[in-house]
Symmetry: C2
Subunit: 254 residues, 2 copies
């Protein structure tokens, strides 16, 4: 088992940011600056084509850390951020770019490629979680959440389905086939984001994936707008969802 | 035009509660105890068979007043609370009770009866709003919200469609026919609550009513569970929705 190797550290606005590696996988751990108290951990999966420190990741981490005192960890997905791409990665990325250039549906390629990436990413997430739980400020007792949209959902659904340490998850913006089959094995509380006028994911498809989760507590947030127009207030909503389920009060007006 | 006649007043937990009448219509105005500052007004419509001070109304008023400093007003719908019932009311209530007793669908009767009640209630709401805006602590300049589920939606959708003073609304838990036609004239921001496993309102029907609103900003909150199992946290969500759209920060952890 690999342990967490910290490689850089900065602090600002109440947020301590530590770059780390677990084996070959680079990640970042955001924590409150204020102390060594144990706190719940939220794992965040980034979207396709972005990376562990993309603005959406840093912004959500800020809300979760300063709002609830959580620890938040992201890792670069395979082939993303600074990580090497395989020949398979290069082929699929070229196929996506070609589809976008010619106006063909990109969905089938995203679904196929993200399913492949999930097979590589799930064991990496599990090894990362093993290592993070060795840290005294996280530990093995506290609850763990998962938050990921788009590719973060394609990876997070199979991860949550097989990882009993994850007790609540926020997903969204993905296709149901073949993910719905895996979602049927998930019973932890779920919040699911969907764009009502998504130009890539048909409305019925998004509703079908939400419907598939076996969770007794699940909430769909469907907002008017296109695929990339998810409102900012959904990040605040996710913070409150994790505050409810991981057992912290939201400390700031939100 | 009738003015507001206050008939009783109590205060507790930061909440000032004043019973009033506007003409024949009894209502209650909840306000912050702390002062005469002008603040936005939220009109709340109660559900069928309940009244202006039902626990759901008082609970939501508490959240809106202590959370955002809003004024909140409810009135008894026609035939509800202490108000007299017409022969028509008595016939429709008997028809609903018989349907429930025999296990027949109650939806068609609720839809028909609530449409009738809305015709009587909408002018009462407008007269109430006219009168409330005469009060110095409300005034005619501030924004106005509407919050009502079930029968509160059956009345609130036609009210919001013709009442330009209402600039944001929370609706939910109703059938689309014939309400969807009216919803197509509504363009203000909307939050809409739907129960994913509603035993009275088919899922497709609830989605169709949400779809009908012409609002550029609209959000559907669909929760797992039966008709009466709307989660408590949706009331907190409505508070934040009104805080965003009526221009106040949420003052307490929510």
């Amino acid at each position: 088992m690999h342990s967490v190797q910290f490689t850089a550290e900065t602090s600002s606005d109440g947020l301590r940011e530590r770059d780390f590696t677990v084996g070959e996988v680079p990640g970042v751990l955001w924590s409150p600056v204020s102390g060594p108290d144990r706190a719940p951990l939220v794992l965040m999966g980034h979207g396709g084509g972005t990376h562990k420190k993309a603005p959406a990741m840093a912004g959500r981490a800020q809300l979760l850390v300063t709002g609830c005192g959580f620890h938040v960890a992201t890792i670069d997905a395979p082939g993303h951020g600074g990580r090497p791409r395989t020949a398979h990665d290069e082929r699929e990325i070229a196929a996506m770019q070609q589809a976008m250039a010619t106006g063909e549906p990109v969905g089938p390629i995203v679904v196929r490629y993200n399913a492949h990436l999930a097979e590589r990413a799930v064991p990496e997430w599990q090894a990362t979680l093993d290592a993070l739980q060795e840290l005294p400020e996280i530990g093995t007792e506290g609850p763990v959440g998962y938050f990921g949209l788009n590719m973060g959902t394609a990876i997070g659904v199979p991860l949550t389905a097989i990882e009993p340490r994850i007790t609540a998850a926020v997903f969204g913006l993905f296709w149901p086939d073949p993910l719905a089959e895996t979602a049927r094995r998930i019973t932890v509380p779920i919040e699911y984001a969907l764009q009502w006028d998504d130009e890539h994911i048909p409305r019925e498809s998004g509703l079908a994936l939400f419907d598939a989760f076996a969770s007794k507590e699940k909430t769909l947030h469907a907002n008017a707008g296109a695929h990339k127009e998810l409102p900012r207030f959904e990040a605040d909503s996710a913070v409150r969802f994790f505050a409810r389920h991981l057992g912290r009060a939201v400390m700031t007006p939100a």
